[in-house]
């Protein structure tokens, strides 16, 4: 496709539409519900978790994600634009050296990835990163 002025504008408005869509409250609520279920409504602190996610993922089928939360007993990952927000939960055992792990996840579209860590003292810390997805990863 030649990148003419017309195409460029169409592309631009498409991206804008996508950006507004990802802000749809329905999806955000699903994620908030899932997080509330985990935390029991406790307040979420910030800064205790490092979330490593690419800014742009060309293929939503396999997006590398890394989390690191010193002092955490459990880290849960959520994707607020997926049909099901839950992604994975890591529980660390006594022989785990660092409270960190990496995996590869599917993202349906451009959205926020949220990591919530349950700390040893029972408090919760969270981190959020937006990942721009060019090709979604849920098929259909």
């Amino acid at each position: 496709m030649d990148l003419t002025r017309r195409n460029f504008i169409a592309l631009g408005s498409g991206t804008f539409a996508l950006a507004t869509m990802s802000a749809l409250p329905a999806f955000a609520n699903l994620t908030d519900d899932a997080i509330a279920e985990l935390t029991g409504g406790a307040a979420l602190g910030e800064g205790g978790v490092t979330l490593n996610a690419p800014e742009i993922a060309e293929n939503g089928n396999t997006v590398p994600i890394g989390v690191d939360a010193p002092g955490a007993v459990e880290i849960s990952l959520y994707a607020d634009g997926n049909p099901v927000p839950n992604v994975a939960t890591f529980r660390f055992g006594p022989l785990s050296a660092s409270r960190s792990a990496s995996t590869r996840i599917r993202l349906a579209k451009t959205q926020n990835v949220v990591a919530v860590a349950k700390m040893e003292d029972g408090s919760f810390q969270m981190a959020k990163a937006e990942v721009k997805v060019t090709i979604g990863g849920c098929g259909g």
Binding site: T89, F90, C138, G140
Partner: protein
């Protein structure tokens, strides 16, 4: 998905006592999300690995709950402490009840 599942694990052959090592695991599995549709518009039923655990000499290192949002051929990377010589045991639990296991020996250097 009982056939063609092949776990692959990368663990150093030896470490000093108390060392921190990095473990990488990968298992071939299609991880059918239950969201996709076939050509006739029927939903393809979910078939994923829903749990992964790593143990060293019976002590837990990491226990992961997997959801359909985990990619095909689930990959994990994490760190473990090696207090003594022994065996790492990795277990994957499939939705269909299958359990895939693999083990790696590690010696003290």
């Amino acid at each position: 998905m009982a056939s063609g599942v092949k776990p692959r694990v990368k663990v150093p052959k030896s470490a000093a006592a108390g060392d921190i090592i990095t473990i990488k695991t990968l298992i071939s599995h299609k991880m059918e999300s239950g969201q996709r549709k076939d050509d006739d518009g029927n939903i393809i039923p979910r078939s994923i690995i829903n749990r992964f655990t790593a143990e060293f000499n019976g002590q837990n290192v990491i226990d992961v709950v997997l959801e359909p949002a985990i990619s095909t051929n689930p990959f994990f990377e994490f760190e473990a402490v090696v207090p003594e010589a022994g065996e790492f045991k990795f277990t994957w639990y499939d939705d269909d009840g299958d359990v895939y296991e693999t083990a790696k020996q590690i010696a003290l250097s």
